[in-house]
Amino acid sequence: MRFLLLFSRQGKLRLQKWFTPIPEREKKKITRDMTTMVLARKPRSCNFLHWKDLKIVYKRYASLYFCCGLDAEENELLALEMLHRYVELLDKYFGNVCELDIIFNFEKAYFILDEFLLGGEVQETSKLVVARSVEASDMLQEKQRLMEIILLFPLFFSCYHGGIHEQACILTLGEMDLHTPEGIWTITDLEVLLLYRTMEL
């Protein structure tokens, strides 16, 4: 596979991955051509196109178009399924994925893609394994942030603990921003719960 592009119905690029080195200008041209070509397609028409010597395979999922470019000998149907598998993976990770998830967490979408495809080749077709390796990194993230928070701001947490501990329980459904000297940090429900427990111990 040469590239993978995700763009919205308005032609806004949401994610781009190039598997072979391509000059910047060429990338822009391809992106432009792809969006115009694919967006011009009528619904229920063929998912395969030609662009120069490349085969283009695209599919629309809700408001988002997934579009990839293949070499001549590659299998179009398989590429279509690959796109589908990627969507499944995103869905598993975000849970009922929507375009907003990908807009706001596009780096996560990249991480998932990197676990799924490597250098343009399908790396891992097992849904479980991909999810696991992405989650492993995420869990680590949660733990690490927690430790840093605790280490950095003991005072803050004593205050937190003393002042609003009954609210901490309410927070389990959402997330909140901590206004720290370093800026605003968002901590999730899980963290708050963990924090709370850590403080109690």
Binding site: F111, T125, S126
Partner: protein, 1163 residues
Amino acid sequence: MSDVVEKTLSALPSLLSLDSQAGAGKLSPSSKLGNLIKGITELTSKHEEEKLIKKELESIKEQVASPNTTMRQMKEIMVRAIYCEMLGYQASFSYIHAIKLAQQGSVLEKRVGYLAVSLFLNETDEFLLLLVNTVLKDLQSTNLIEVCMALTVVSQMFPKDMIPAILPVVEEKLTHPKEIIRRKAVLALYKFYLIAPNQVQHIHSKFRKALCDKDPGVMTASLHIYLQLIKENPESYKDLTGSMVTILRQVVGGKLPLDFNYHSVPAPWLQIQLLRILAYLGKEDQGTSEMMYDVLEESLRRAEMNHNITYAILFECVKTIYTVHPKSQLLEKAAECIGNFVLSPKINLKYLGLKALTYVVQQDANLALPHQMTIIECLDHSDVIIKRETLELLFRITNAQNVTVIVEKMLEFLRLTCDDYSTIDLVGKVAELAEKYAPDNVWFIQTMNSVFSLGGDVMQPDIPNNFLRLLAEGVDNVEDRQLRLFAVDSYVSLLQGVTAKLPQRFLQVISWVLGEYSYLREEESDPGSVMRLLARLLDQRHTSTETRSWVLGAMTKLCSSPVSVALARDVCERYSGSLNTVLRQKAQELMILSQDTKLRARVLPAEGRLESLEVDSSLSFLDGYVSEALAAGAAPYKSPHQRQEDLVQEKALSLEPYGLSLPVSLSSCSITDRLTDRRSPTLLSMSSGLSGNSTELSHQEGSTTLKLEGVKRVWGKDGYLAQQQSAGETPTPLVELPNPLLSPQSPPSQTQKPSSGLEPDQEKRQLASSLFVGLGSHNSVCLMGRAETAPRHFRRKPRGESSSGASEGSSNSSHSSRSAAVDNLLLSNLLDSTTVASEGGAATTTTPQQTSQRTLDHTTSNGNPHVEGTEQRVEAGGPLSLIRGNGMVAVVPPTHTQTDPQTQQDLHPAPALERPRDLPLASHLPAELSGLARSEFTPLCSDQDSSLALSACRVYKEDALVLLVFISNNNDSALHQMVLQLTCKELEISCISGSPLKEVKGHSVSVCLHTVVMKRASVQVELAGLLSYQRPLGQPQAAQFSLSLSLKHFLRPLTVSTGDYGKMWLSFSHDLKQNLRLVTTEHQEPLTATLDALKGKLHLHVVDIIGSEGIVACRLLQGPGQGQPCLLHCRVNADSLAVWLRSPVPELPDSLLYHCQKALTET
């Protein structure tokens, strides 16, 4: 602190009101990125967005530059920078910080850093060099996640030159206990293989291990590498067929863990990969194909579930079945399967069905017959993609009977499409079909008119060129006259209409044809009419300068009558003052020739149109004029290339000499060119290319050769023969064609309708019968779907030697036939190639093309003792043919007669007494190497009583230098515990003999084989060897020896075209210039002699010699199919040869130059 809490609390309501989806926990619209994104969505104009992003980038820039920014903040900033880049705004200032983040951040920050790096940078970016250390550190980390990230980034992008730095660590990971690491390592190595195959050459055995890995994921990953390897060289991996078949059988049989299922289909990606590998392995190989029939059948049978993924497998399976050696039963099943695709209501499947059909009708055109009605429906499909694919299919099944209908459909499509790429493609196809199968003149000309007007200026230039050649060729019989006359008539009527919409290319064609053939219609109309039309064309504003010069050229040919002369004078007056020099010159020519009837009759003889004229490509008739001018003080002529080069030297700007692309067209050829050849503009440019000195002219030549190749494919020997045969069998269907429905030749299946449920109307039936006519009836003929009869005069006639003139292509074909005979001769004469190699001293094996060229050299320079003496070709049987198949060239370096005296002796029929061991040693050469050229046997050392003797021999394989060490034991007792070590830090030595030998029995000889590759180019290297051994009842002993290997042993010719040479030249950075002495011989030009001497001694490939310049290419062995290229550009300067060397590696030009100097001084 309290206000922090307050703010936190104030944020609570909004948080609680958020949808509590599972994904919402990760959504962070309140972050800075969130704000940015929200900000953008609220904007209405592109301009506002630009302003906002600019502001954002400013603030990012400020933040990244601040020393107080923590890595954590950096990570958040980087995400924003990525977002801005995705929107198309440059954030290049952040690249370096992305690398810093990857270097210094904690695991998660690192991950974002790596992601940013992989998104921001390109493989060639210098910033990447800064990443190498980080990657290396992470690869060695104990944290699995860090290792994973490093492997991921490495397989996404890594600088080619730095691969050796991390290769050992990546290699190590192949044995890592975690399968995810092993898998990623394999993929990283796959990536390395793609960008630098020679680097990973030594770990091929480890790939095999990965193939046998217990984890299916790792095994799957290794298949990527094998697919690539097998694609490049299927012969070497035939032994894997069994394993691949077994794996596929297991996968199909559901033996893999359920994890690998995709929609309950077992590992589809793996299956398809395997099917693809099997296709490469079984192609044109019956034995291998037979091994896979069973499993292919099983795959077809098992993939029955109605899901896209099973269709993907089926499609691949069908392709494999039609690629490998055919088995009728399987083919039937595959055809049935294609039917399912084609008949499917799903549009994607229909598309693939058409694709599959297109693929298979090349083998059997009848396969399209059952799907006639579907194809007709697809032809009118609302989706252009389907239409386009259908036309592709029809193109494959075109024959003389259905050509009109199919071409009409194609033109119909062309009129509607606006995509340049498919226009170019389709226009070429229409032109090809029209040329091949045109039923009559009228149709042909009309079709070509449509081609020219639709193809416009985007179409391939060879279409008009071929068309003009077709018109110009051919004997002057009634048919040809009619064709030309019809063309003229149709163009006259076109010009009488509105010409504004006609593309320039078409206008050029029109003016050439009118200029050339208007005389055919002159009796029936007034002489000035064509002239007036042309003059009108000149006046129009949209006519380009190039077209104008064509028009003026045409007028020059036409201005015979008084009316025309008057018109011509008018035109001349206007254009003789033109700012464009070409136009001005054309106008002057027109002026002079229109006034001087005698001169005109000489320059443009009316009756000489069809004769091919002798070409004096060296323009020797101008010699007198030139010498006079020189004597009068004129500056000597410099070719554009030379001028450019001088310019470079003066200004020290790197304007590359091969980068020029001055358009060489008819317009730049003066009237004298008309003398040289009047057949067609293509030939014209070629003849001028031959007379010129510049390289871009040879580019032009290159492209012409290419065109002729295309021509050969269609009009080659076979096609022509087939036509002759069928002409005897079937009467030309020319006359009774118009209504194919009534045609007696219509196939029976037309009436036996396919069992599609719907009742097609009469129109469609008719269309079907006209489309598929001629398919069923010609079972035997239409194996390729195109061996139909066609009107004879539309076929391009193969021109004989006499008419070849300046045409390279035709002379090529005549050479090849001649050289074939010579090849055979050589083959039969030189059965024992090795003896010839040793006798000849210099032996060369070449590809057939090269042989033919050389043969030509021989025939032209017959009786030239120099050539005969220094070059001797060896055609070996088995092994060589393999090399030929690869299109590679094996050149045997001459044994260096100057350096070792022993070889000198060998040159003469060796006195058997003096060198008793030579012949026995030769018999110990491994069979696979015996056909290849080799050096003499060089004695290395022997002990005092000569009970043990070591000799060496180099075998010059096309992809490697094989060093053989012969250990001759002349004693009764055996040698034990032998260990042979070869060391040299400049060389990469790998043992290729199966098992390291341990002992040598009494009175026998053992051979150790090593492949040797130079790590970096150097003039000469010393190889140190140590053989330790033990005699029974003796002490361990050792024999030391040394052997010197020179750069030239590692050089192989690099066969490139002049065009490729030019491209390569531009891309290489290291260069070197030097003057060398010229070799002078009696029989050859100094340049040719010098280059021949270099070619003979250093095995360079002479790409081209043009005038006083020659370009030469070679490569330094670096592994199979690999090599460091070095290009030489030589120019004769007075009595020395100015050589300019270029290569991607710095050392190579230096060392090569040294050898060139040495070779030339020795000559």
